[in-house]
């Protein structure tokens, strides 16, 4: 009985170490910081953007209907449509480059490449993904524009949407390629073998079996690539120019949301001015666009993961 009581007291004693509690508190707080960051992004963008719309020179209607973006002019105009259309225009050029190149690279990697070629090409794509955007900007301005664009389309200006779009496209190739590659690899091998066993060629198997089977993952990669193209800043700022009026000529300079954010902030904009607030109005516009795309991509990607689990 005495033994039993001794054992009971040993088994029921809990040792509390204050250091454990402190560390646990810290790591819990760290995890919650993620929520805090999101909240503060939305909060700061919103409050300053609201200030922007309270300026009498700015109207909600003007923001969405005016066809010029000239916040630093004498008679400022705040036509965000100019910026949105430029942004989408350059993003579409980028997608025209990156979707086929990225997708075909992924098909090559997952369906045709040997293990050894994979081992070479994957790191190359990773390096490409790691190149800072300012370097792509330099490349667009100093190599793509003179050596490609101006050679084949004479008379194109130094700053043009085409060159910026191509560079952004190259930048997103790794994103599209690696997510599509994952999607193709997630398709069960039995499907591939089944098709080959029926006598289908590798091309037919890739295009008619694997591609549809991995479609939702591939679409997710496209959406994410598009979202990244919209948010890309330095390439379009360096190579895309700042043409503040509505136009749809790929040879002309354009003015994206991101490059106008950079340019407005260049002049050390003092706090409280309309130009300063405009930064945040543009910020939330950009945030909403990319947020919707990212959620969409995540949703589609989740669907394909469910299909094969």
């Amino acid at each position: 009985m005495e033994n039993e009581n001794h054992l009971r007291s040993q088994l029921t004693k809990t040792i509390t170490r204050p250091i454990e509690k402190i560390v646990k508190f810290f790591i819990t707080a760290s995890a919650f910081a993620a929520i805090l960051i999101s909240i503060s992004i939305v909060f700061t963008l919103l409050t300053e953007a609201i200030n922007f719309f309270q300026d009498p020179a700015v109207t909600f209607k003007g923001y969405f209907t005016a066809t010029r973006w000239t916040p630093t002019f004498q008679n400022p105009e705040y036509g965000v449509i100019v910026l949105i259309s430029s942004t989408l225009y350059i993003a579409v050029i980028a997608c025209l480059i990156s979707f086929p190149l990225g997708l075909f690279s992924a098909i090559y990697l997952s369906e045709f490449a040997t293990k050894r070629t994979r081992k070479v090409i994957k790191p190359v794509l990773e390096v490409l993904a790691g190149v800072p955007t300012v370097v792509f900007g330099y490349f667009a301005l100093n190599w793509i524009t003179p050596n490609i664009i101006q050679r084949f389309i004479p008379g194109t200006g130094v700053f043009n949407a085409l060159s910026a779009g191509i560079a952004v496209g190259i930048m997103i190739i790794p994103t599209v390629a690696s997510i599509s590659d994952d999607a193709l690899n997630a398709v069960p091998n039995s499907l591939r073998n089944g098709s080959l066993a029926l006598g289908a060629t590798r091309r037919i198997t890739s295009l008619k079996i694997m591609f549809p089977a991995a479609l939702s993952g591939i679409i997710a990669s496209f959406i994410l690539g598009f979202s990244r193209a919209i948010g890309e800043t330095m390439i379009v700022t360096i190579a895309g120019g700042q043409y503040p009026e509505l136009n749809l000529d790929p040879r002309s300079a354009m003015y994206t949301i991101t490059s106008s954010i950079v340019n407005v902030s260049l002049g050390d904009t003092p706090h409280g001015t309309t130009a300063y607030n405009a930064l945040f109005a543009l910020g939330i516009t950009l945030f909403i666009m990319t947020f919707i795309l990212n959620i969409g991509s995540d949703y589609v990607a989740r669907k394909y993961r469910k299909e094969y689990e």
């Binding site: 033994n3 039993e4 054992l7 009971r8 088994l11």
Partner: protein, 269 residues
């Protein structure tokens, strides 16, 4: 299933298991187990896979707590203390009741650190070198590793790794050692070493071993519990049950239940 009396031998009991059922969410893994487990003896759990024997042994040191949604009904008394009492700290339980796993799982550290970890977390930091030597000697590993205690444990062979895991378990001086198919990943030579080792260790510890190897159970254990699965009437659920619990010699020569005999003679399972 009133086989309890048979084991009421002279030796003291370490566990009293009363009407224990274990379930994960909706799924009942094993139900209505009654047994008393003898002190300083080797008790083997045998039975076909899925019969809940591993699940049951994990309730004995509350390793089951780690799996979300696990529920244990009934009582498990450990030397008179209800292990599932609200006041009982599972960490203290595991300190007294050690466990060796199916696959050797040494920490990816040196041999010595594998032993000292348990000592440190249990505040047994006096005479550490002595304790390390004693544990490794008891686990019949000392002679093989005494010259490279600072070698990474993952460089040892599978059998040595498993004996290292036994060494680190006994280093913290538990009363009982639970072994969950400790030889299933080992070759026959390494298995033999572990079985011999168990015969030494049982002088000091109570040992419970889950095994799918009937020869092992017959060779190495004093008592033997045979579990099987019963399929529910609608055929959807399979639940583990204790069929027979007996002295090993009786179990393997003259089992009381037909089911046991069929299993042992290899006619099912």
């Amino acid at each position: 299933m009133e086989t309890k009396e048979t084991i009421q031998v002279n030796s003291e009991n370490v566990f009293n298991v009363e009407d224990v059922s274990v379930s994960y969410g909706e799924f009942v893994a094993i139900k209505n187990v009654n047994m008393d487990i003898a002190k300083n003896k080797i008790t083997a759990f045998i039975g076909p896979s899925g019969c809940g024997k591993s699940t049951l042994i994990r309730t004995f040191n509350r390793m089951n707590d780690l799996i979300l949604g696990t529920k244990v009904k009934g009582t498990i008394n450990y030397q008179g203390v209800d292990l599932y009492d609200k006041m009982v700290d599972p960490v203290q339980v595991r300190r007294r009741i050690g466990m060796v796993f199916q696959k050797p799982n040494p920490f990816p550290k040196t041999i010595k650190e594998n032993i000292t970890f348990g000592l440190k977390v249990n505040n047994m930091t006096d005479n550490m070198d002595e304790r390390v030597e004693k544990a490794l000697t008891q686990a019949a590993l000392w002679d093989e590793v005494k010259d490279d205690l600072n070698k990474n444990a993952l460089e040892l062979s599978g059998g040595q790794q498993q004996r290292l895991c036994i060494a680190r378990t006994i280093a913290v001086e538990p009363d009982t050692i639970l072994m969950d198919e400790p030889c299933s990943a080992l070759d026959p030579v390494a298995t033999k070493k572990i079985e011999d080792l168990m015969q030494e260790l049982v002088k000091e510890f109570s040992i419970l071993i889950v095994t799918h190897n009937m020869q092992q159970a017959s060779r190495a254990s004093d008592y033997c519990a045979f579990f099987t699965t019963k399929t529910s009437d609608d055929g959807k659920r399979r639940t583990g049950e204790l069929v027979e619990f007996n002295e090993t010699t009786v179990m393997f020569t003259n089992p009381e239940q037909d089911l046991t005999e069929q299993y042992i003679s290899g006619r099912f399972g």
